[in-house]
Symmetry: C3
Subunit: 468 residues, 3 copies
Amino acid sequence: MTRLELHPDRLLPADPALRDVARSIYESVRDLPIISPHGHVPVSWLADDAPFTDPTSLLLSPDHYIMRILHANGERLEDLGAGGTPLDAEQSRAAFRTLCAHWGEFAGTPVKLWFEAQLVEIFGIDLLPGPDTADAIYDTVAAQLATDAFRPRALYERFGIELLATTDDPCDPLADHARLAADPTWHGRVVPTFRPDHYLEPARAGWNALIDTLGGVSGVDVDSYAGWVAAMEDRRAYFRRHGAISTDHAHLDARMEPLPADVAEALYAAARAGRISADDGATLRRHMLFEQARMAVDDGLVMTLHPASLRNHHPATFERFGPDVGADIPISVEYTRALAPALGAFGTSPNFRLVLFTMDETVYSRELAPLAGFYPSVFVGVPWWFLDAPDTMRRFREAVTETAGFTRTSGFIDDTRAFLSIPARHDVSRRVDAGYLARLVAEHRLTVDEAHAAAHTLVADNPRKAFL
Amino acid sequence: MTRLELHPDRLLPADPALRDVARSIYESVRDLPIISPHGHVPVSWLADDAPFTDPTSLLLSPDHYIMRILHANGERLEDLGAGGTPLDAEQSRAAFRTLCAHWGEFAGTPVKLWFEAQLVEIFGIDLLPGPDTADAIYDTVAAQLATDAFRPRALYERFGIELLATTDDPCDPLADHARLAADPTWHGRVVPTFRPDHYLEPARAGWNALIDTLGGVSGVDVDSYAGWVAAMEDRRAYFRRHGAISTDHAHLDARMEPLPADVAEALYAAARAGRISADDGATLRRHMLFEQARMAVDDGLVMTLHPASLRNHHPATFERFGPDVGADIPISVEYTRALAPALGAFGTSPNFRLVLFTMDETVYSRELAPLAGFYPSVFVGVPWWFLDAPDTMRRFREAVTETAGFTRTSGFIDDTRAFLSIPARHDVSRRVDAGYLARLVAEHRLTVDEAHAAAHTLVADNPRKAFL
Amino acid sequence: MTRLELHPDRLLPADPALRDVARSIYESVRDLPIISPHGHVPVSWLADDAPFTDPTSLLLSPDHYIMRILHANGERLEDLGAGGTPLDAEQSRAAFRTLCAHWGEFAGTPVKLWFEAQLVEIFGIDLLPGPDTADAIYDTVAAQLATDAFRPRALYERFGIELLATTDDPCDPLADHARLAADPTWHGRVVPTFRPDHYLEPARAGWNALIDTLGGVSGVDVDSYAGWVAAMEDRRAYFRRHGAISTDHAHLDARMEPLPADVAEALYAAARAGRISADDGATLRRHMLFEQARMAVDDGLVMTLHPASLRNHHPATFERFGPDVGADIPISVEYTRALAPALGAFGTSPNFRLVLFTMDETVYSRELAPLAGFYPSVFVGVPWWFLDAPDTMRRFREAVTETAGFTRTSGFIDDTRAFLSIPARHDVSRRVDAGYLARLVAEHRLTVDEAHAAAHTLVADNPRKAFL
């Protein structure tokens, strides 16, 4: 068995000329609080504060990063607990053995970094996952999960989290958020995020039922387009009252294009009548997204865009397991033209903040850095989903900084369902940024003091400026 | 005259912290057999085993990499033997002098690396190409080519080739392949590859004649669409019986989109009647490519895609010299949407293997790694044509590994007509991958053992898994 | 106050294995003359040779790189003298204080490198810009600007400029150019550049008035399409007689597509009648651009393309401040298909030179290097606008060299209105290229001699071959 160790200098540049500088920069930000303004941890975990039941349902089944790599390497999703497939105790253990048996196939991916950091730093395990160590790891994790120190709130505190955002349906009553916020024994901050994607896709199956629900929940008559606007504004206000700081949007493109009022009304009426074409649905969706931007100027909720993922690429997998099992595949994205109407209208509005994420690296230097390098409202979202890995994060800084500097990026987001991986994800980001800054120092492009200041900007200032 | 030397550490990272690790990784895979599942060496060379006639027709004229750089720097293709232009002895020597006179213009390109490695390692020459050394190099090469040790089969053995694939027309009788395979004195493995591009472009001039030939060769009536399907299946089976392991496809896009049977039949009839439009031709081609995928599931031939090259960009050059003289220019490519129908149908079929190559680096992290990171049938093709160079290979690993790991790439392919460059091309790939892995070790992202295992995966396991 | 110093090894690789080699390469080209074949310095500065009036109007207000970063970080363009907003003495000083107060936000951008190099090397200032140093810097710069040694011609000589190109309207009488060239006390070389963008956009507001002017200036009846051609040829000849070496073109795409004569004539007539659609306008523009290529073959003016910037992205800013204040945002670009007609017609013409610039890095390896690696007429433009920064320049070399070598790129262009930044910009380019070459040496891909030769090619030979 190979002993599992975390090298204190992991992910820092190997070059001795850089490593000392990088270590000093990293150490200056290592222990700063975690601000996590976009993610998918269930608020109920913290509201209930119940112990986690087993290693597989906590560490494996909810994580589509792990799921898809095991699937690509020949495993069946049903054996891993995908899509809520229930696993009994023996199946949970078997799934965990499967993961460990495939551990070599995670080499080179950030999953290896995050997972091994969890084992060492959270569970104190020094065994490399593998066929021979699977049971020992499983048992050690399971035993600790049963203790109070590993209940959700204890981990939240131990992780040094300052803010954690969830992702929520606009009609969600946010009861768990309210319950948690009202709990006098709770001292953290968990906020909801308004995610109206399906409500903005009028040609999508089920849209009318969603809008009916929206009308019901908001108490607004949504038969007219004006009603849709009013109901949306009502729910955004409800989210704000429950602590929300942002809205999140993921469609096939980033276009926000206003329609004349009568056209919007006519398309809305057609959609409510169930007679809207796919093209008209996209047209109305782009108008509705523009309206979300307009509402953001009014209510101050930060708007984040995550476009251009072709969801559920494999229909048979979706039918059996539902979304979020690793079968979403990126497509190219365009921002410059797509955002021209909205930025023309709101780009210099002091109350508007727009954070632009991408899975298409080509837009970093071509579109996002130039946009954030002119518009005070625009922030370049840091690498996210698929790109949240060390080499990609380095490419991101190299592509964005020379045009936009350090002050125009969003701060790291972990975007994860894997609660226990949050510290490791932020730590990877801090290490990679420290390495990038160390190179600029070693090339005499920044002084050591300037690099330390930039590191603080990236970790501490930017997420506050973009989100808080 | 500068002495030509190959440094033993060439292409390994310069950083001393990395180089020792890189060297050890490289040495562990340096001498593994060469598996070359896609290339353009004529099988007749090995079937006939006749001595090569002269340096120019072996090393220069067939190699469009060399040809295009000389052309860009002012030389005339006819003087270089392009497109089968016959060169007499003096002209061959003159062409070789031209190459040597321009040697400085190859600096920074992989041609320099491959060619110099051939001179040193195959011919034992220590003269840097230049005006003063051209004749001496020419004469030394020519003298050795006349000896038995430099006949094709001797070189095949010396190069340590385990498998070499050719590229062949579906109607090719594969007589040379059969002759070689039947030769009891031959112990290597050369396999044909089924390349039906022109048979899948119904709007292309000459298509009907090709289909007539296809019908004749297969003995199937190709007047109906069903006949086209049956004839294709027949020829694929013929290729399989002659050892083929894969089919190769190069069109302007990667789309595979099935048509309803009646639509396919109607378009096929229109095409056979010579009345199909360019757009309908593309539609039918995309259907036919989907059919090739369906056949691949049935017969197990690996499917490789090489799309998005605008062939013969300069018409006057094409008219005079034909294809493959260096005037093919890449365009952007899209895979996520293009492959959704085929992967929806066959993506998890155990019998399906699809290897995706590109000349558009943007798809590595955005599309190919996510696809290969979910679908067990999809492999990311390693850098090929235009991208088969050290820095690009490094970018490839950096773009793909973090999402797909090491097990989902294809193994190196040399894709070359330049037989003598094959060892150097594979060697460059092994060196670059060793350097990449050494960095991951130095950054404590892999242990040394894990990096050695990854190197073996890349060189030995992946080509077998993807192709054999 | 932090002392401002320029490290002699700045921008060279930190790795000691590379730095010595890089320094030696850099030193071999550091003092070679500056050839600046594309830029925006007003010729009147050199023709008049009047002292510069104040630091702000020289160093800040004309530079959209600085302007946009200050704007993104919350400053108002009117306070910075944007778009010719007049600033009195106190406002100029206030604007300069604003710049210095925001200096930390320029960290990581090339503006920091260029500006600090100007302070140290031109003005001998060793104060880091900041709130506490703004006035001292301002006063020191102002005092020196009033002296003869800082008048434009003295600086031109001190900078070691061999050639400087301006950018000019086709109807410009070039009077300042003529006056400067005729001045017997002037020994430099400043040449105009023919920039006909607005004359090639028939659907653009104001086009007819421009064409009327063109007719008037050239003395050619422009009522017919033939007249447009003759007038253009006349003005190109006029520019050539005044020393022009190139024409420059910036449209939304790079397409050059000839129309049949009757179609061109009909569209031209419609445009002159004020009745052309946007689509037809684009069609006619692409024809007119093809005609510019045809004229280039005839008159030998080098053709440079700078496509795919969406100008004036923020309409309110444009209305108030006009163009060139930092609100132009790139879009993706396509060259392979766009240039097929023109390169098919002229690509191997000995008299044709076409330099292709981009703000979309994806075309470097995919399209530009392959085009310049086949066509003797095509040169890859070096990183320009947004991309003229150290890491991007390095990516450019890594993306282009392996396909096109060192001889097919354009030589550096500074493209700037900021006259005093020209030496620093060329210096950054030379340093970055030296670092790239040093790595190739350290990886044994080039000998030291080959790297020195390549550096000379990049700095001295390429601009002459592409432009002179």
